[in-house]
């Protein structure tokens, strides 16, 4: 496996960096996309996009922006996994695939153990899971499982909120009684926690849940733990936030950042032809771009085992595997340094972009 290829044929790494710089600086509106990287990689990528007056997007932006849209249009209550673990006496898991989105969830939230703080300490933890998939239904002993499809989740949350507020719902008496019983459990929680992933909830469902949180907090304490998107989405979003003020889907065409979730969506930019060159970064798992056009110049930074037949490819290492990497940690809700588990000398995303940046004219701030 070559470290750099052009249309499938090996080229020297130094030439690859020069060629990448030529493609990107020659473009009218280059795109930095994928952005599956650690914080250092995101930082380098955003500085490159800024330097080139291009745009940047992350491959899991749909999920990230679902949460951010609720935050910035409505507001949000959150806590750390550790506080949920120590205090959560009523933990409501919402939707399928939470253990896929966060493989360590059951262990980290210690759902099978009692909470350790407050009057609820050592009392059994109530766990409710709405719409788990497959084995998830049996994952937490004693959990109350409420079957629901992904499509039904919004309706379930809406019905809970309506009944919490004492409003009627168009459901049979038996169902209403079940909902009322559940709502009573929420009301009686001392420190309740919703756990969700935006991969299965749309912004309106998240807002419904957060609206219920606000109403619950009128008399008790209730909050939420959200599960971040794949490929380093949360860390990339934080870096984008302090560097530009905005999350991904931000462009620099005017020489300053503008954030627009529609205008700077990567797939649309490529398929519409607005972007005329793309740097695709997917250092965690080699995910491929979702766009359909194959006729714009493409540079790929990935840990691929097979090089793509089209475009320029530069092999990079995997964050936290082949090199030390700062990542947002789902278990703490904060940034942490992950030491390399299998170090190699493959360049990190930050190093590869640093080498490309060095070929772009203006003196770089790195």
């Amino acid at each position: 496996m070559e470290t750099a290829t052009l249309d499938g044929k090996a080229i020297a790494l130094g030439d690859a960096y020069k060629h990448a710089a030529k493609i990107l600086s020659g473009a009218a509106f280059p795109l930095v996309a994928g952005l599956g990287a650690d914080v250092a990689g995101a930082r380098a990528a955003i500085l490159l996009a800024e330097r080139l007056k291009g745009a940047f997007d992350h491959l899991a932006s749909r999920e990230t922006l679902a949460d951010i849209d609720v935050k910035r249009s409505f507001g949000m209550f959150t806590t750390t996994a550790n506080e949920a673990r120590l205090r959560g006496d009523c933990v409501v898991l919402i939707g399928p695939g939470l253990t896929r989105a966060w493989p360590g969830m059951l262990e980290r939230l210690a759902l099978a153990e009692p909470p350790r703080r407050g009057a609820q300490a050592q009392q059994p933890r109530k766990v409710i899971w709405v719409g788990p998939e497959g084995e998830e239904a049996n994952a937490v002993p004693g959990a109350k499982v409420i079957p629901a499809s992904v499509q039904e989740l919004s309706g379930v949350l809406a019905a809970w909120r309506a009944r919490f507020g004492g409003r009627p719902v168009a459901l049979g008496a038996e169902k209403v009684a079940l909902i009322d019983d559940l709502v009573e459990r929420l009301r009686n929680a001392r420190f309740g926690v919703f756990v969700w992933s935006a991969s299965t909830l749309d912004p309106l469902a998240i807002e419904m849940m957060q609206g219920l949180v606000i109403e619950l907090n009128a008399t008790t304490r209730f909050t939420g733990v959200h599960i971040g998107g794949r490929s380093g989405a949360s860390g990339v979003t934080q870096a984008a936030g302090w560097m530009t003020g905005f999350p991904p889907r931000t462009g620099f065409g005017r020489g300053y950042p503008e954030h627009d979730p529609w205008r700077f969506e990567a797939t649309r930019l490529v398929d519409s032809g607005e972007a005329d060159a793309a740097l695709w970064i997917s250092a965690f798992d080699d995910e491929k771009p979702a766009w359909s056009r194959a006729d714009i110049p493409l540079i790929t930074l990935a840990p691929a085992h097979t090089s793509p037949s089209r475009g320029l490819f530069i092999k990079v290492g995997q964050p936290g595997v082949t090199h030390d990497a700062v990542l947002m940690s789902q278990e703490t809700g904060g940034m942490t340094l992950r030491k390399a588990s299998a170090p190699t000398d493959a360049p990190s995303v930050a190093q590869a972009i640093g080498a490309i940046m060095a070929e772009v004219s203006e003196g770089a701030w790195r």
Binding site: F74, F191, Q238, A239, W242, G363
Partner: protein, 545 residues
Amino acid sequence: MALTVLRGGHIVDPATGQDAIGDVWFEDGRIVERPEGRSADHEIDVSGHIVMAGAIDIHSHIAGGNVNTARLLLPELHRAIRARLADTPLSTAKWSSYETGRLYAQMGFTTVVEPAMAPHHALQTHLEFNDVPIIDKGALTVLGNDDFLLGMLRDGETDGAINDYVAQTVENTRSLGLKCINPGGVEAFKENMRAFGLDDVVPFYGLTSRQIFQALQKSTQAVGIAHPLHLHMNNLGLAGNIDTALATIDAAQGLPLHLAHVQFYAYGKEGKNGFSSAGALFAEKINANKNVSVDVGQVMFSDTVTISSDVLKQFNSLPGAIPKKGAIFDGDANGGGIVPYAYKISNYYNAIQWAAGLELFLLIDNPEQVFFTTDHPNGGPFTTYPELFALLMSADLRAQHLARLPADVLEHTTLPSISREYTLYEIAQMSRSGAAKLFGFVDRGRLSPGAVADIAVYKPGRDVAGMFRRAALVFKDGALIVRDGQVSHYTRGKTLHIRPRYDQRITNRLDSYYDDLYGLPRSIFDVPDAALPHKDAFAEVPCRI
């Protein structure tokens, strides 16, 4: 670096008592004596200009997870409008870490302290610092709602053990000292208490706020942290909370204590709105207690956002949010609450707040006991400092503002009767010499030989605010980085921190604690050098002992 002389400026340097025309020499990033037998490589004529040390902001929320949440919460508050100049990436990206460095530098500020770093989120604060160009940064570590400390106090552990924990936490999070935010009150909020005063008891710990902050105050002294405990008191923003403030000063037992953003505690209950300025009473108390220093947290009329680790207070503020949204984060200890707000000159309460802050500035006698913050961005953005300095320096300007306030405000503040005008020397005491003393900085905030060559040169004129907003020249570590109020390029400032000593056995004990409670290695919260993009990010400041 070349030998440079700034020739013929009006030097205002309270640390050395200078307030006269003179020259300032520097070389290799430090101020030097005029060298015998050598001539300057660069001679810059600054006649007709004011020359001061670079300013130090002692309390400004510029970095960390809560600040970043505020950025993401309020895209409408910071739309960029102007393309950046060459060699300054992201410098016009509003509210970015880069713009923060540029704007501070342009005002002649060269050191800024972020006052609220959560121990479990220290790495993000340091990563953000890394992307604040030019200026030097430092942080205060937040303790006082953390289970480990509260548990130690409840169990009656020795002062020695508490001191070790404090010192280990400050060293490990790489900060300049300690802050305590609504001690015990944030923990109490998790237990569903909605108000928390100085003598309320934290459930399950049996401790009062008073006991918690007194313990941290003592510990801060014992481990040799130069900066006194930096306290965010209980009952922030509530009518009648002057009682809390006065009682807190009494509780300080004569030991050093810094009270943060005191304007937010200078409220009586007079008048038909039950809300009045108690600024005069508060100032009198501060004048009588030399162990206490304060920063004001001045309200400046503007659209802004409140960012605080006082989660209880921020939760209670949500219904008054403008626009109506907010983020409430129940963190491992303190967490944070982000609530947008708009201070309006036509609003009775906001006008009282504005007046109370100015009363504190003008009625506290010693300019090295009171600092000029707006608690950025809580009372207003740091970019309003120039307007604030102008207000302090001109009774006429204050009178113009007073005329625009709701009429009944004037009955509940002493501000109209105050004629004091700050001199440039007093401004420099507050923003340079006093600020340096407050943190134990011996080589900044002054222009004496050996000091860091952080120098601000201002062109005086009728527009006092304009003079402070656009420094004529700013040198950082001897390098010219601002000319005519414009940053020409970036340099990389340092992150200042202290390393108090402690018994290493506390580290083993903490390892077991994290393992038992969280099932996580304590090191997951560390700030290792390898996590930061640059090896030379830090500079150590000596401890007091």
